[in-house]
């Protein structure tokens, strides 16, 4: 039922006569369903040879146990298995697998759970990872990204209650250990399958190279052997780790554009652009800008609304140059022989987005949220140009630079002093009393109530609602969950799988009433079947 009907009417814009039709008019932008997945850094103190997989498992299991023990809980709502049936992380959007490529392995034996807010919380590559529920707009992504941090904070408290005296698990929301090891914060965007992948590659690469100037999380030093002595501070955590322009890898030889073709939705209609290049942000406004501007860019690409493109002569080199240029002045060479600065590229994209908005383009990114994206985008570019440090209330790398450079000057330290590297790490420490990001004056975007609600309630306007609400209400009868299906055990001989191939179906408007009048999973399945028949 959730997958059988076309969601095209929901996902496409309705008033096509008033909208940009693009150069070819063939592809019309679809709702930019988006989400964010964060691999957190983990430290287990007081243990001689800490195993990060064990630590991550303790962290997540402690949280799940604390929920089951909480008063008012049925105690059954969170013991789910992740369903790996439709996981295909090795499928390449280019339609082939390059020789030597290593598709990521699915680690099905590790701790893996789904929360009632629709998120997936699991152990991945020796890190705890949270994948947010599917959201319809960048602001909701911010809420669920913050909710994820709160869940991780609660997990730390729960884990440390059961650990022996003198031991402690500490979580860091960063992307590098400063020694050449990186872990990711990925974004996901729903894209129309009819948009050729090559157009995405050419269209979005310049944005990924230049958006760093407002969404980089900042880092002391460099992790490239060639220039560790020359770089004091750079804009991003991740730029050092990218070596290719396009590719399937995510753990080595990382590409600017990741080609993983695993839509977790109807593969005929949709693509999921899996973005691996971003930093995890402590600043809510930075997360908002990172996701919001990228969603707008992808919508413009679908509508063929970007007449001017920037083809960099050496994209990987440009990415690193931008990350190392705190003055934002470095010219970047284009294939036509001219040069451009990162901020000039961003101004051009913003101006185009304003024209796009005038023609009704923002509907697919959430009309109101879309306008807020453009306002924040304009404001951050203006302020970065006018007076860099006025952006310290929303740009992570500027807030971090201001703190660390201030400390360095006060104590007359060299850039390679351990105390500066320690401040860098502690900026991302998720313990509230130790977190430096919580002290530097970053302004918030969402209320505490929204964030707390986001720790257990799903978004109401995507299929995450159906997933989360079923887990909340019929948790003991859900035996497996995935992005695009739920499996129920209602006591019959065979299990019942409900596919959810349309991300915009399964909303509160769609199934809220059916859920509320169903007293059991069996009733729910009956009601869903009868709706399908009528």
């Amino acid at each position: 039922m959730l997958s059988s009907e076309s969601a095209r009417a929901n996902t496409s814009k309705h008033n096509s006569h008033a909208r940009p039709t693009g150069r070819y008019g063939a592809v019309v932008s679809i709702a930019k369903i988006c989400g964010i997945e964060t691999e957190y850094g983990i430290v287990w103190r007081g243990v001689d040879e800490p195993n990060p997989i064990t630590a991550s498992s303790i962290l997540i299991n402690s949280y799940v146990s604390s929920l089951q023990a909480a008063p008012g809980r049925s105690g059954s709502g969170l013991r789910f298995e992740w369903d790996f049936e439709s996981e295909q992380p090795g499928t390449d959007a280019r339609g082939f697998s390059p020789l030597g490529a290593l598709p990521p392995e699915v680690e099905s034996h590790l701790v893996n759970t789904v929360l009632t807010n629709g998120a997936r919380y699991y152990v991945d590559h020796a890190h705890p990872e949270m994948s947010s529920p599917e959201c319809t707009n960048a602001r909701d992504v911010v809420v669920f990204d913050r909710a994820a941090d709160v869940i991780v904070q609660r997990s730390m408290l729960a884990a440390n209650r059961i650990l022996p005296e003198g031991q402690e698990i500490v979580i860091y929301k960063n992307n590098s250990d400063g020694k050449g090891n990186s872990y990711g914060c990925h974004e996901n965007y729903l894209v129309d399958r009819n948009l050729p992948f090559g157009e995405i590659v050419f269209g979005i690469t310049p944005h990924f190279i230049t958006r760093q100037i407002f969404c980089g999380a900042g880092k002391v030093g460099s992790e490239l052997a060639a220039d560790t002595d020359e770089v004091s501070f750079q804009i991003t955590q991740r730029a050092d780790f990218f070596e290719e322009e396009v590719g399937l890898e995510t753990t080595l030889k990382r590409p600017i554009i990741n080609t993983r073709d695993e839509p977790h939705a109807d593969p005929i209609r949709y693509r999921r652009l899996h973005v691996i290049i971003g930093d995890a942000n402590m600043s809510e406004a930075a997360t908002f800008l990172k996701v919001g501007t990228t969603a707008v860019m992808l919508a413009m690409l679908e509508d063929r609304f970007l007449p001017k493109n920037f083809l960099f002569a050496a994209p990987v080199a440009a990415l690193r140059k931008v990350s190392r240029d705190l003055s934002l002045q470095t010219p970047l060479r284009l294939v036509d022989g001219t040069t451009v600065r990162a901020i000039e590229v961003q101004w051009e994209y913003l101006h185009q987005a304003v024209r796009y908005a005038e023609q009704g383009g923002l509907e697919v990114v959430g009309e109101e949220v879309g306008r807020q994206i453009l306002l924040e985008w304009e404001s951050v570019l203006s302020d970065l140009e006018r007076d860099l440090f006025t952006t310290a209330d929303r740009v992570d790398w500027v807030a971090k630079l201001r703190l660390i450079d201030g400390y360095r000057e006060r104590h007359d330290l060299r850039w390679n002093d351990s105390r500066l590297a320690a401040l860098d790490l502690q900026y991302h420490d998720l313990r509230p009393q130790r977190c430096l990001a919580a002290r530097v004056g970053l302004r918030g975007m969402c209320t505490e109530d929204e964030v707390l609600e986001g720790t257990h309630r799903p978004p109401t306007d995507t299929r995450a609602y159906f997933r989360g609400a079923c887990l909340e209400k019929f948790g003991s009868e859900v035996i497996a969950a995935n992005w695009d299906s739920l499996v129920f055990d209602i006591g019959e001989e065979s299990l019942r799988r409900v596919p959810m191939m349309e991300p915009l179906r399964g909303t509160v408007a769609h199934v809220g009433e059916i859920l509320s009048r169903s007293g059991s999973a069996a009733e729910l399945l009956d009601h869903l079947a009868s709706v399908r028949e009528t």
């Binding site: 691999e39 850094g41 430290v43 990060p52 990521p104 991945d124 590559h125 020796a126 890190h127 250990d177 400063g178 090891n181 990186s182 872990y183 990711g184 490239l224 060639a226 220039d227 020359e230 770089v231 004091s232 070596e243 290719e244 995510t250 753990t251 080595l252 691996i276 050496a314 990987v316 080199a317 140059k321 190392r324 240029d325 705190l326 003055s327 002045q329 470095t330 006018r386 007076d387 860099l388 440090f389 006025t390 310290a392 630079l401 201001r402 703190l403 201030g406 400390y407 006060r410 351990s418 105390r419 590297a421 320690a422 401040l423 790490l425 502690q426 009393q433 130790r434 002290r439 004056g441």
Partner: protein, 64 residues
Amino acid sequence: MQEQEHVRRTTTDRTDAEIETPVANTEAGDRLKAELDDLLDEIDEVLETNAEDFVRSFVQKGGQ
């Protein structure tokens, strides 16, 4: 192979290792400066007691 070229170009081209960042000289900048002084006053209480050990032992397995 092409990638190695990129890396070399990055390191030889770059002459801006110590580029100065723009200096804050506006009213908002002054306010931020004052706030920063307050923050720096309290930072030593929060900083890990043995920064060198802390940084050296912060080792993560590579992820995605």
